[in-house]
Amino acid sequence: MTRTYTILVAALGGEGGGVLADWLIEAAQHEGFPAQKTSIPGVSQRTGATTYYVEMYPEKGARPPVMALIPSPGAIDLMAASELVEAGRAMQNAFITAERTTLVASTHRIYATSEKMVPTDGRYDVQKILEAAPQVAQKAVLFDMSRLAQEAGTVINAVLFGAMAGSGALPLSREACEAAIRGAGKGAEASLRGFASGFAAASTPLGKGGGERSEAGDLTAAKSPPTPLLQRGEEGGFLQRGEQSDRVRREFPVALHGLLDEAVARLADYQDAAYAATYLDRMRGVLAVDREAGGEAGGWQLTQEAARLLALWMSYEDVIRVADLKTRASRFARVRKEAAAKDDQIVVVTDYLKPSANEIADILPPSWAARLRKNAGAGRAVKLRTSDVTGFLAMRLMSAMKPLRRRSSRFIEEQAMIERWLGAIKRLGFAALDADLSLEIVLCAKLVRGYGETWRKSREAFVKILDTLVENEQAVARGADALRVAIRKAREAALAYEEAKPSAATAKGKPVIWMKQG
């Protein structure tokens, strides 16, 4: 006897899971199959994970059977997930079983709040899901549907629908599915494009095992930290390499060339060529430490990390930098693209800024800065139309202060701090000849991060590590191993710092102001 065919769709809000369920029903009706769907809307509207459950009886013109409203574990024929962790959730709930379930899932990630809340890397290890998928499912079809949807200019549900049909598991013909999409009207063309690309991706046998398609490689890349961390945003129209690049070739081992080239370009763009040269001078010192400690065997790990962190540190973002980035042609082009503006349309870009007194003080000479900081307020919200002449000019004026940056209070402070850090690396590095210890000190530069409150707290922690451990004779006297462990512990604690619960001491009373009524 024919069995009721069950489909469970796991999706997040805004991905069109409801529309997908509608299509399935339409397609089933097109085939003359009795079908039913249920959902728990509401939750889905608000970024939460939700499911849509569809049942159909694949027999033309059959009298309606009793169809369930709740998916039963072990009784799902087709499990579709619009995101990888949702596929993992389905496994966890036993909605994917080797006896009957075909899994069709997208491999892209949308991070959950709990993952994003971890100050360091809180991402779930999806490699496990990718490995488990072919083992728990009868058949697993996995690929990045989000990318295909983007390429087709549609929403992920169309690609997912295509993949479901293309997997061969759906008891519906391609014609019926396409007719269902067409019947829905709105945006049908784009949806059909998405459907076709999903169908093709799912039905093309690729890799091992027939129709099984798993782009595991895709994902390993997503999980491992993107190296190099210097992101060449569209903004960074980096200058041509030239002289500094030659210096990189001459003075540094091959393994470091790529990273240093990026860094040099970034810093030349940030300030000037001389600044980039300073960077290379500094890196030579680190390289010397690394060489002494036999870093060549380890692929110059110490220098690599230091190069990355130092480049980021030296190109810290201040008001000048922000103004510079916000007025680049490439930025306006990107905004236009994101707004999908046509050629004859005007895009108005409004930047919402809240420069605090501290940030203004950062770009002033030290003596002025001190005075301003003394009576710093909370800052003021500024709304600037960067696309207008006045707004643009204001921004450009700000960015034109680049040559003056070298005399700004923050610049002077940062350079001093960098020298202090480098000094510690060299001093302890040559003294202990322990590459691991040096690396721990280098990694402390990870604490140079963020802005506002995060920056302040992290900087405090950084200075504290220097004061109490790295530059503290007693701590150093306890030996390289103890010092290494202590530094790592302090660093990790500081990195994992969650927003501090305000201590009783900092909570200050506020006067009650009574307003006269009437």
Binding site: P73, A112, D125
Partner: protein
């Protein structure tokens, strides 16, 4: 409401012999019209919002039939609306989310059920229980029992649901008692079809109003009538209801060959139970079960004769009853004991969980345990165990392979939600002042209690946050912050919270999330909804009526002697359809209290400051909308895609 329900409204017009295809709650709406209701009211809330939304858009159809529809101020208002059926033969329906809505409505419900009804009164409750629920988990069943309102729990398919709507009205009229129709979330959203009938215009309605009032002291809940009413409930209404339920066969018995055992189940549990039986090979796709089933489409009251008949020759009977307390199981035990039938073991919450939703997995395990306990002849218990263990193994295997459980993904603020920065601000305040006590309310903003914000210490009900803070204020070292949405404000926050706090001269901070809709339930209109000019949508009829009425009254009043002196041109800006155009569009700026005067600032200076262009523009901000064209170039702006 921003969304249009044109397609759904068309479905409400289907006539005899046609097939309706759509959602469960919409089918209920159609069945109401087929039953000849005179009026429908309710308060929005998942999963019954759709009923309200569609009817709000079906004004034309309702006008043709003469049906009065009203989005009530809250559930108590909706329940009180059913009072129209106490004295007059008007069929009426009300709807809300339960159990919370029933809580709010319970005052009116008690009075309604005590007085009894002449016209059929049906309450459609969306039982928000289990996965996807956003409220406390309680049963509406208890309310039905204590107020003696009959409770229908139909099998979750459209023909069954719509039949119970129609029979519900008949039952209500036959027994002079209001009737509740309980639909779970998934039943409300189930997509299916049923054969429709013609809509029936009510006997009495706006088109044919009742002319004579009916007065009967028996219907007033004062002594001695209140005592009589209670006796009438037991002596007359209950027997009449039981007679009707039996005569119309509202409950269903499905025979099976395993006669030694049986299952008594709530109608709403039918499909999940059948699925579990199918997985064990004890039922076919069409629901032919080998175990006899007694399906309670009416879960209150129970028909003693039917229960004893079903149970009498059995060894064991499983009661599938979701939620707690186990009213049905206890009642069935008591019925059998009183009838001196002691053979069948009544098994219910011993194999099924006391609390929580009865999902497929729960029923699978419960049913397996029941079969293993009762060992009926002709059932392959090994196969049953294999199915059950297969699921358990799949879970363990997945857990092993995954290593760590995947991160949960609870609902949160939508991307770009403007409520988010409000809580960011509160977070900053917390940083500055130390921990604060926040009294939260019901709405999207309740998500502030979840990570990453974790703001909000208590939630006491819709619109009750300010009332909930009233005892915290004097007993807490800092000021209490109360958050409320404008939905909650109008629901009952205004009276219970704000009015009383002002009256008592309370201290504290009330933050109202004024977005102009009840957003969490699907953006329905409330008194603070923005006016139509600002929304750019089609004007609501009642708003135009109201504006016209105001103008007429103002015009008439202006003719009165003594009023003439003070006459001013009638304000016209209320009317969204035909307000002043072009540069006349400026709103009249009403006088307001001046901004607080700074120290050393003279009175004139202060006035001048308040009169400055910026201040004026700020007050007139509604008029200053963004241009659709770039002013100097007259080219369209990109963020107005597709609009001229």
């Amino acid at each position: 409401m921003e969304r249009s329900f044109k397609a759904e409204v068309a479905k409400l017009r289907l006539g005899a012999g046609q097939t309706f295809t759509g959602e469960g709650i919409l089918a209920v709406t159609k069945a109401l019209l087929q039953s000849g209701v005179s009026y429908v009211g309710g308060y929005q809330g998942a999963p019954v919002s759709h009923l309200m939304d569609v009817l709000a858009d079906a004004r034309e159809l309702l006008d043709e039939l003469g049906v009065h529809f009203e989005a009530c101020g809250n559930e108590a208002g909706a329940a009180a609306m059913l009072g129209a059926s106490i004295n007059y033969p008007l069929r009426g329906a009300a709807t809300w989310k339960s159990v919370v809505g029933t809580n709010v409505a319970s005052d009116a419900l008690s009075n309604l059920s005590s007085a009894g009804v002449v016209g059929g009164a049906l309450i459609v409750i969306g039982e928000d229980y289990g996965e996807g629920a956003s409220i406390i988990q309680e049963r509406s069943h208890s309310f039905a029992q204590k107020s003696q309102i009959w409770l229908l729990d139909p099998r979750p398919n459209l023909p069954s649901i719509t039949r119970m709507v129609e029979k519900g009205f008949e039952l209500s009229e036959a027994s002079n008692t209001p009737v509740m129709l309980e639909l779970r979330i998934r039943a409300c959203h189930v997509h299916g079809s049923f054969e429709t009938k013609d809509n029936v215009a009510p006997k009495h309605s706006r088109r044919n109003p009742i002319q004579k009032p009916v007065f009967s002291l028996d219907r007033i809940p004062l002594p001695p009538a209140n005592y009589t009413q209670e006796k009438h409930k037991i002596g007359v209404r209950l027997p009449e209801a039981l007679k009707f339920i039996q005569r119309e066969q509202l409950n269903e018995v499905f025979a099976g060959d395993l006669r030694q055992i049986g299952i008594i189940l709530q109608g709403g549990m039918y499909n999940t139970t059948i699925r579990a039986l199918q997985q064990f090979g004890l039922a076919d796709p069409y629901g032919e079960s080998r175990i006899p089933l007694y399906v309670l489409n009416v879960t209150y009251p129970l028909v003693h004769e039917e229960v004893t008949r079903f149970c009498s020759s059995k060894r064991a009977v499983l009661v599938v009853e979701e939620g707690q307390p186990a009213h049905l199981e206890e009642a069935i035990n008591s019925i059998l004991r009183r009838a001196d039938i002691n053979d069948p073991h009544i098994i219910g919450k011993d194999v099924l969980p006391m609390a929580g939703e009865y999902t497929g997995e729960v029923l699978l395990n419960g049913l397996a345990a029941f079969l293993e306990l009762t060992l009926p002849d002709g059932v392959d218990l090994k196969a049953v165990a294999a199915v059950r263990d297969g699921v358990a193994q799949a879970k363990t295997r997945a857990a092993e392979l995954l290593g760590a459980p995947v991160p949960t993904r609870p609902p949160g603020f939508c991307i770009g939600c403007p409520e988010r920065p409000v809580f960011t601000a509160l977070k900053l305040i917390e940083k500055e002042f130390g921990g604060i006590h926040i009294s939260s309310d019901i709405g999207c903003h309740t998500f502030s209690t979840l990570p990453p914000f974790n703001l909000g210490n208590t939630v006491l009900g819709y619109g009750l946050s300010l009332a909930a803070a009233s005892a915290m204020g004097p007993n807490f070292g800092k000021r209490i912050i109360t958050v409320m949405g404008d939905g909650g404000f109008w629901h009952q926050g205004l009276t219970t919270g704000v009015a009383n706090a002002v009256f008592r001269n309370d201290e504290g901070v009330l933050v109202i999330m004024l977005n102009g809709y009840t957003s969490a339930t699907g953006t329905q209109n409330i008194p603070s909804s923005p006016d139509l000019a600002a929304r750019g949508g089609q004007p609501d009829q009642h708003r135009i009526h109201a504006a016209r009425h105001r103008r007429e009254v103002a015009g008439a009043r202006a003719q009165l002697p003594g009023e003439r002196r003070r006459r001013r041109p009638a304000p016209r800006h209320d009317d969204g359809a035909e307000g002043p155009q072009g540069h006349h569009r400026r709103r009249r700026v009403h006088a307001r209290a001046h901004a607080p005067r700074a120290a050393g600032e003279g009175e004139t200076a202060c006035r001048r400051r308040a009169r400055r262009a910026h201040a004026l523009r700020h007050r007139r901000r509604r008029v200053y909308r963004r241009p659709r064209l770039h002013p100097p170039l007259r080219l369209p702006l990109a963020h107005h895609q597709g609009q001229p």
